[in-house]
Structure formats: structure tokens, C-alpha cells
């Protein structure tokens, strides 16, 4: 097997595991299919925007939950809702699911529960970030070796 095939094999296996482990869902595949020669970095760009969004929203949630005078759960919920929306848009399934759980604690105005969820969301976000960085690196290696990125359905 030459180097391109090896890398492509790795890519396929890694992609498959991302789906199997629930890091990404079909929406992510949809985004990958949208990438074309007019926008060869489309997925990387959208994902970067998403991670920026994550960081901002996670900070908002943390700040809101820190308020000793009384937590504004509506505010926390608004940020969770936004994060849920963008994670859904890019297919970040585990982050999205963590947000869904988070919202019910916001509704219940349960600060402890919210803090646990915030931890979970932060954890899922950093896991995903690592995974996707690996995926993008593989893509770059394939392209550098003169190959094309396989479409994994």
C-alpha cells in the first residue's frame, strides 16, 4: 500500500470511529459534502467559527453561574440554547446532547446540576476539538501526498 492509500485508510477508519462514538452525526457529513473547489476550506472555517462560539458561550455560562447574588438561569439557558443550535448545525452530536441535558437543569434552576453540565459541555468541546484537529491533519497529509480525501458516508 502506498502512502496515499495508507493515509486514506487511516482517514476512513478515523472518520468512521468519530461517527460510531457519536462525536459527529450526519449533519457533519452533510457539511463535508458541501465543500468544493470554490470553498476548499469550508469545513475547517465553519468548525473554527463553532469553536470560537463554544468558548465564548462557555465563558458566558460560567460567569452567569458564578453570580453569588443569584444566578440568572434564563441567561444561562439562552447561552446553552445558542450552543445547542450551533452544535446541531455542524453535527457536533455529543456537544449538542450535553446542551440538551444542560437545558433541563436550567429550567429546574438547579445550580449544581448546571455546573456539572457546564463541565460536561466543556469536556465534550475539548474532546471534539482534538478529534477534529486530527481529522483535518489527516486531510492535509493526504492532499500533501497528492491524494484526494475519501468521502465517508
Amino acid at each position: 500500500m502506498n502512502i496515499v492509500n495508507q493515509l486514506q485508510r487511516q482517514f476512513i477508519d478515523f472518520s468512521t470511529s468519530l461517527h460510531r462514538e457519536g462525536f459527529v452525526d450526519d449533519q457533519f457529513t452533510q457539511l463535508q459534502k458541501l465543500q468544493d473547489e470554490n470553498s476548499p476550506d469550508f469545513v475547517v472555517e465553519v468548525v473554527s467559527l463553532f469553536f470560537e462560539d463554544c468558548e465564548k458561550l462557555i465563558n458566558n455560562m460560567a460567569r452567569a453561574l458564578e453570580q453569588t447574588q443569584g444566578v440568572d438561569f434564563k441567561q444561562v439557558d439562552a447561552s446553552v440554547h445558542q450552543l445547542k443550535g450551533s452544535s446541531s448545525s455542524i453535527g457536533a452530536m455529543r456537544v449538542k446532547n450535553a446542551c440538551i441535558a444542560f437545558r433541563s437543569f436550567c429550567e429546574a434552576q438547579n445550580r449544581e446540576g448546571c455546573l456539572r453540565c457546564l463541565q460536561q459541555v466543556t469536556h465534550e468541546y475539548s474532546l471534539l476539538k482534538n478529534k477534529l484537529q486530527t481529522l483535518f491533519t489527516l486531510e492535509q497529509q493526504i492532499l500533501a501526498a497528492g491524494g484526494s480525501i475519501p468521502v465517508v458516508d
Binding site: 450526519d26 449533519q27 452533510q30 457539511l31 459534502k33 458541501l34 468544493d36 470554490n38 470553498s39 469550508f42 472555517e45 465553519v46 467559527l49 463553532f50 462560539d53 440554547h81 445558542q82 445547542k84 443550535g85 450551533s86 446541531s88 448545525s89 455542524i90 453535527g91 440538551i100
Partner: protein, 209 residues
């Protein structure tokens, strides 16, 4: 709409111009891509206020504020800070200049009362997010057909026409979770079905969560 009789080709000057409204940068980027792939010109703005400004409806600039690029379709998120998509929809439908522009609402939550209110106010469709390419392709195709058949008689009579079989003709492996009071533009007004709207809507709703 001026496109009567002309078939829209990609890249031609008769591309549909879609105004996309969403407060999420990620979502704007995605919808923009979906629309460009569907051969549309896109203007993406972050709020209802900006959308009204773009259309020249904000009262600030007067009718000369409209930048001249005719908008053929508006796609707006429902939940936005400030002005919701619903409020934007109402403002557009209450304006004599722009009420004919089809407005599609997008939302991550498929709440029946919300869907009903939007359709009542004249939304063409209510799409559940995440929006898929098949949704956008279908919408923009309907928009083109609508332009071609509207021609002389101008206004569509009622926006809540039912066309349940819309989805069987869309591509893609998973069915679109949209709720549609479709464009159904080639229907004769005498074929209008304005109810039962609810039962068919419910049948099409898919729980995304």
C-alpha cells in the same frame, strides 16, 4: 417577480437573491453555502433590524435606501435577540412593498403553536434545523417555478396550500423535517386546500432532539 418565462441557470444574472437572517455566525455560514450551491445570490445578515434596513423598510433611509438588488426569498431564524423571526415575518407581510416575498422560518425547535403562528402570518414554510441541502434546493426550485407561473395575475391568493407529496420528490436519504404549506405555485387557485393543515403537518414533523 420578474422571472416569468425564463429558466434560471446557475451563474446567470437571473439567479435568485436570498436574504438570510440568523444571529448565529455558524448558521449564517452554513446557510450561505447551501444557498450558493443551489445557485443563489446570498445576502446574510445577523438580525431582523439589519434585514429591514437592507430591504429599506426601517424608515430611516426611505424608499431610496433599498440597494436595488431585488430579494426573491427571505429565510430567517426564529429565535433571535431583539426582533424574532416571527416579528420580522409580520413586518414584512404587513408591508405593501415586500409582502409578496416568500418568507421561510427556520428553527431548532418544532413547537406546533410556533409553527402554526408562523404559517398564520404568511410564512411559506417552517424548517426545522439543521437545514439540509435538500430543503434549500426544494425551496429555491419552488421559488423559481413560482416566478414563472405568477406572471400576469400577480398575487398568490393564499399561502397555505398543501402539497404533501413534496417530499417524495426531494432527494437525500433522510426525509426533510420541514413543515410545509408549500409554494405549490403551479396550482390553480381553485385547487386550494386550506385545511386540514394540521394533520399533515404533524405527520411530517420529526423530533430532532
Amino acid at each position: 417577480m420578474e422571472v416569468a418565462g425564463e429558466v434560471l441557470q446557475s451563474g446567470s444574472s437571473q439567479e435568485l437573491h436570498v436574504l438570510a437572517v440568523d444571529d448565529s455566525y455558524v448558521d449564517r455560514k452554513v446557510i450561505e453555502k447551501l444557498l450558493k450551491i443551489s445557485s443563489c445570490k446570498v445576502t446574510a445578515v445577523e438580525s431582523g433590524a439589519r434585514a429591514l434596513q437592507f430591504l429599506g423598510l426601517d424608515g430611516g433611509k426611505g424608499s431610496l435606501g433599498f440597494n436595488g438588488l431585488k430579494v426573491n426569498l427571505i429565510m430567517t431564524d426564529y429565535s433571535m435577540p431583539g426582533m424574532t423571526g416571527y416579528e420580522l415575518l409580520k413586518k414584512i407581510k404587513r408591508s405593501s412593498a415586500f409582502r409578496e416575498i416568500p418568507v421561510v422560518i427556520m428553527s431548532s425547535e418544532n413547537i406546533l403553536t410556533r409553527i402554526d403562528s408562523c404559517l398564520e402570518e404568511g410564512a411559506e414554510e417552517f424548517l426545522v434545523k439543521p437545514v439540509k441541502l435538500s430543503d434549500v434546493k426544494r425551496l429555491t426550485k419552488d421559488c423559481v417555478t413560482r416566478g414563472e407561473t405568477e406572471g400576469k395575475d400577480g398575487r398568490r391568493v393564499n399561502k397555505r396550500k398543501l402539497e404533501d407529496d413534496n417530499h417524495s420528490s426531494s432527494s437525500s436519504t433522510s426525509s426533510s423535517p420541514s413543515t410545509t404549506a408549500s409554494f405549490g405555485c403551479s396550482l390553480d387557485p381553485s385547487e386550494l386546500i386550506t385545511s386540514p393543515l394540521h394533520s399533515s403537518k404533524r405527520a411530517k414533523l420529526r423530533d430532532r432532539d
